[in-house]
Symmetry: C2
Subunit: 600 residues, 2 copies
Amino acid sequence: MTFTVTFQPIGRRVSVPAGTTLLDAARLAGVDLVAICGGEGNCGACRVRPREGALAPRTSAEDAELPASDLAAGLRLACQAAVLGDVRVDVPPESLTTPQRLQLEGQEHAAELDTLVTALDVQVPPPGLHDLRADSARVIDTVAGHGHAAGCGLAVAAALPAALRAHDWRVRLALREGEIVGVLPAGAGLYGLAIDIGTTKLAAYLVDLENGNTAARAGAMNPQIAYGEDVISRIAYAADHVDGAQVLQATLVTALNRLVDQLCAAAAITREQIVEAVVVGNTAMHHLFAALPVRQLGAAPYVPAVSEALLFPAAQVGVPLAAGARVYMPPNVAGYVGADHIAMLLGAGLAAPSQTAVAIDIGTNAEISLFHLGRHWSCSCASGPAFEGAHIRDGMRAAPGAIERVRLTGEEVHVQTIDGCPAAGICGSGILDAVAALRSAGLLDVRGALRGAHPRLRVRDGQAEFVLVPAPATAVRRDVGVTRRDVNEIQLAKGAIRAGLEVLLAEAGVSAGSIEQFVVAGAFGTYLDLDSACQIGMFPTLPRERFRQVGNAAGTGARHLLLSARLRETAAELARRVEYVELANHPAFTALYAKALVFR
Amino acid sequence: MTFTVTFQPIGRRVSVPAGTTLLDAARLAGVDLVAICGGEGNCGACRVRPREGALAPRTSAEDAELPASDLAAGLRLACQAAVLGDVRVDVPPESLTTPQRLQLEGQEHAAELDTLVTALDVQVPPPGLHDLRADSARVIDTVAGHGHAAGCGLAVAAALPAALRAHDWRVRLALREGEIVGVLPAGAGLYGLAIDIGTTKLAAYLVDLENGNTAARAGAMNPQIAYGEDVISRIAYAADHVDGAQVLQATLVTALNRLVDQLCAAAAITREQIVEAVVVGNTAMHHLFAALPVRQLGAAPYVPAVSEALLFPAAQVGVPLAAGARVYMPPNVAGYVGADHIAMLLGAGLAAPSQTAVAIDIGTNAEISLFHLGRHWSCSCASGPAFEGAHIRDGMRAAPGAIERVRLTGEEVHVQTIDGCPAAGICGSGILDAVAALRSAGLLDVRGALRGAHPRLRVRDGQAEFVLVPAPATAVRRDVGVTRRDVNEIQLAKGAIRAGLEVLLAEAGVSAGSIEQFVVAGAFGTYLDLDSACQIGMFPTLPRERFRQVGNAAGTGARHLLLSARLRETAAELARRVEYVELANHPAFTALYAKALVFR
């Protein structure tokens, strides 16, 4: 007898024999659940939330591993729960491992459909000796005949003559606020392009403007990495080299155009069908994309060239879409709180929360927003690149072979690597887990010194280190572990983040315990273990249900901004009302930072 | 004893001894008057209008040469009139020879000053740790503090950071309809750029937006000539070659940028000080400049891509001016009545004439407008390139050595060449004069056959020809003259023009004799002899004072459009109301054309 198991929100289905565990069903369905212990029921990682259908009763392993709150909420361990009927289960993001990362983005709540660009199918009368109107005039007149007033800009006017004749005077027009922005074959679908320019990664989404669905997505590394790993070094490159900014812009745009080509191929559409784009990024990426100068972003007081939202022709930055397609970029808050932060807040549904809420996106800088009683503060903390694997001896990006989960049970060290490959290094969530686990096990003191007795703890080259995977089991044929210096990097990072949060809480006059909603965004934020983050004091210890890991909410926000004119007003309102707190000269920062450095 | 002679409207002054003729004074002043007879008092060409001061009484030569109407109007022959005091005289355009051609353009009536771009000097507060506003935001806030609401586009935002810091936060802003379009050093003057793109020649003017004065002017050949002499061949080039249109656009823009550099150097300003541009041209030149497709202009029914006025960033077409500078292009009427025709009407002050008025610009096509009782008709006649010296055996452009004036007195042939150089050929006004003079002298029959007896009339290679300058006196060492075939070319041209005019008159239900104002524009139109044009029937015979030769009125109109927002509304209104008459399928055209071909 077989039953159907449906995994939500990914939407994968699989048929399995009765008695199959949900973990095995997930493997068959291609849904990669975290299973550090390999399905032994002793790591507690593969938590899922049953929604419908019959499962075998809870096992003793579940009773032992799941915290009371999870048990009360009806959570199960996938490795223990056997299928006894057609079942539907929700998979929380934290239970998914790397390959599903992109699919997390499916978790978005639906955006309202209030698109700026709409379609109008028209039959345009062809010219003749008794009708000598210009092509643009006859199209504008035809549109007026349908009850719409719309002009057209130079680029669209240039595209009209060929398009009208190619489609035999029957075309679909894309109209945007009194302007014709595209000329398509009759019936062709209209699409929007959402792009999130990360310092490290680019994410691009093709959105069907008719129903708001994401038709295709594509990602790539940001090729500007060749000119500097981080924002600071790229600003320096732009400022110090003749045409440096142009080189960075062109490099970026080439990669983005490649992504657009991939999206078009995947959805079987043409670029002309993309009638609007939303691009988000941190302030430096935003400026480099829009060909705005970045020199002043590289020196105190680090002011942006532009903070208000931008709207300009896509062709102006070298991304050919529909002839009149515009790029919208949400407002920047400050030099280090960019348009991507605004997009993240919108993507996470935090336009105007009634609760006391925190939203944080951790990269080389961590941008934090605090909402309390109708006000909104934000700051940027120099958390450093430790969570991106830099400045960590065995650090690496979140790529196959990176240790992403670490648990210590007595003398046993459980690690999970991305894609299950032999360990090649440690990525951000792995180093966070390792430090938390070492601290839990009493192997780290409050200052971050490794101490105590453990078979994996040793001193090499005068420095204490904890070996996570001994050389023979690694891909790199050397011990992969965590050093005293690595721990210090994590201390600096978590200290900066926590201190930034505390400064905002102090500004608002509210305690950490009052935070009702704690949203963690971004790639690292999605894969970090919340317990670990609280354990080392990076986040305040709050009831687990107050936390929400929202994945690439900036990308989600960008897609929503494609679909909603009202949301763009909300973005402007957010940027207008936010109170930016500069930590550099904040009187309380230094003391709070010193306090946040130690492990409690 | 010396007196001062002032030549108007050119504004040249010279001191001369008492008794000097006005012609000699003009030579000293560098004002080149037409003097076919060399100052003998027998060609009647050097007519001037005394305005102030004492001249010797009229001579018998004047009484003989000047028609009664001129005598009544007080006109004098400059070669006869001796200076007896400080004198001011007006020089009509037809009395000037080539080198002064550009100066004719000084005849414009002053445009009202109603500029779209205005200056605002501001002191912008620099950023600091307690003022972290973006550069654009602090400028926008500062402008708001001066009582103006103004945003800025991407290009200006990109220019702000460097400009603010270079000028130590004290800048002059160029504001245009709620937008900042330029950032200049405090006190820098704002300028506009007017460009007339002729098929053959380019004219560029730098206009001081503060007082409306023309600060500098420059001209050049249109380098697109290398891709085709006329509009038709350039359209074919653009349509038939890959990137043909781009090549033509780039070639043109390169030449225009060189002119802009010359203008900036002449006025000692920077390109950033040019905050607006107006560009006019016939429909094909307009389209090629604005990167609009021209293929449909090359085939019936010859419709433009765009007829409405255009406004777009100068940078978009590759002409870098102030960061946010716009190019305005007046509306086109039809495929062969372009934005330059609208500009010409405005430059000649014909926005809404209360009189019955005709305005005509003769090139390869002749564009004609007729105003009557509040209505406005226009058409384009395929007059052909004969008046530009093409399809004429000894034809040449109006360049040094071209015969530009011809008079016959009995057996004597008087010719005047441009710059007085030995004859190299005949330009439009010369061939027109020659045909008129031959007809006057009875050497041409109604069908255009050369006949009768004259020492210069002969048959060579089976074709009748009239020698204007025998080989020994020419620069080309061969007889320069007019052939039977040349006369036919002129017949076709003048017939097309007159037939076009007659069609418009028929549409309006008015006779030629009712035309109260007859404006002739353009280079050829300025230098043609009106008597000759009437003599051959190209223009109807009207009292001389109804004619007005207005020089490059399109260039004047372009300058006025820089200075007046209201005039742009007038341009739109003109284009909206004009009734374009297509001659190709007009029922009366063929008969009127046949009638207009013959000499009466």
